[in-house]
Symmetry: C2
Subunit: 245 residues, 2 copies
């Protein structure tokens, strides 16, 4: 079971739970690294990696000479970690839902073809879904998959849960994802399925997923109701690249 979990993941998971429980309160200091090493019986490496993970999730503030302090216990949709819609919903204690409008095999075209590096000679699989949180329409998803991956979806009930989880089980490796965020006015289709007025502002995430070799195999255009979902990212300025000349 947990044999697959590395030590730094175990430490991070334990600390994350304590922060979310309130066992480590906001504004308080964590135990020192050496104390954590003793508690988990590991060396400093895994402990520091776990602390870095939690800092990237926005839960901790790290600074030199002073133990880490708890910054937040929020579980927001941080773009720093890859969190598919279904998993994110579950983690925030809400019930995710899906209604599939279309699963289609067709020729590649438009922005998706560009992102996937395909020509009109190539075939793709498009999926159109409305995603729900606690029964409320929250996001409208237009996904395009390269054929070899998309074919797997014809054997999957796209209303039943996470395509990402299913594809991962089928051996598809989501190695890196690029997210481009902007705002668009709701078109007629968006408005109808998200039950909002046409022209309302929507938060759009365009996503390109790549395998371990860097080859893109998924392009998605997801439009969120901004009253229901926001994205957040925490970054630290302590890392300062060189272009300060």
């Amino acid at each position: 079971m947990t044999g697959r979990q590395s030590r730094h993941e175990l430490v991070a998971a334990t600390m994350r739970r304590r922060i979310m429980n309130g066992e480590y309160a906001i504004g308080t200091s964590l135990p020192s690294e050496s104390a954590l090493c003793a508690e988990f019986d590991v060396s400093r490496g895994p402990v520091r990696q776990a602390l870095a993970t939690l800092r990237n999730e926005g839960l901790l503030v790290l600074s030199q000479g002073r133990p880490a302090t708890v910054r937040s216990r929020d579980v927001t949709q941080t773009l720093d970690t890859f969190t598919p819609f279904s998993q994110w919903a579950a983690r925030t204690g809400r019930r995710p839902g899906s209604r599939t409008l279309e699963v289609a095999r067709r020729r590649a075209s438009g922005a998706a073809a560009d992102a996937l590096g395909l020509t009109p000679d190539d075939t793709v699989v498009d999926v159109l879904r409305v995603r729900y949180l606690d029964g409320e329409p929250t996001m409208f998803e237009r996904s395009t998959f390269a054929e070899t991956v998309g074919e797997l979806l014809f054997r999957f009930d796209t209303d039943s849960g996470s395509m990402t989880d299913y594809l991962t089980e089928q051996g598809v490796r989501f190695d890196s994802m690029e997210h481009v965020l902007d705002a668009v006015a709701a078109d007629a289709l968006d408005a109808e399925h998200l039950t909002i007025a046409p022209g309302s502002p929507l938060l759009r995430e365009r996503r390109t997923s790549r395998d371990a070799l860097g080859t893109p195999f998924e392009y998605a255009d997801d439009r969120y109701r901004p009253d229901l979902v926001t994205f957040s990212i925490v970054n630290s300025r302590t890392v300062q690249p060189q272009w300060r000349d």
Copy 2:
């Protein structure tokens, strides 16, 4: 000015330059970690930390058993997201501009007071600016500073350049920033200064900046024209080497 540079920073800076130069072409493999250790005469720790940095910037794809491969040479794709406006503009080869509408000392209220943890008894400094790229109005910025920091701005020409750089010179430490992204319809003020129609979708970034102790001292509501600016983030599902930043 840069003073002491750690070894992993030196390695990261060198590799970043080579990727941006095209010396390491997109799609090719980097030298193995042991080769890099030999070249820079460091142990694996600093080399791995440097690779993790470049991966987080979206330049590299890392995977087990195979040397890192170059994914992109466009640093702006990722780091531009939340670097200060002036620096970001300069890096993308465009001319930044500012027009200040207001610099005011007043009582704390609203979302800014909440974010800064202040009450109406506390005083803040508000700054309203229109930001330009190559002369075109691009972003409308509503910033609120805690009094001790904001006071410094009365001695600064807010049209002349980067408030962030100025405040940093004055000893203000931007240790971490939290960004929340969503979409809003342009209000009358937005529309007037960004020369768009009222109700147009805008990409909003709400930012809270904190010092090393985690105390917030800046809250900003920045609204971007989505036809001119987008945000992008690259991340990886596989969790990271021994150190991240």
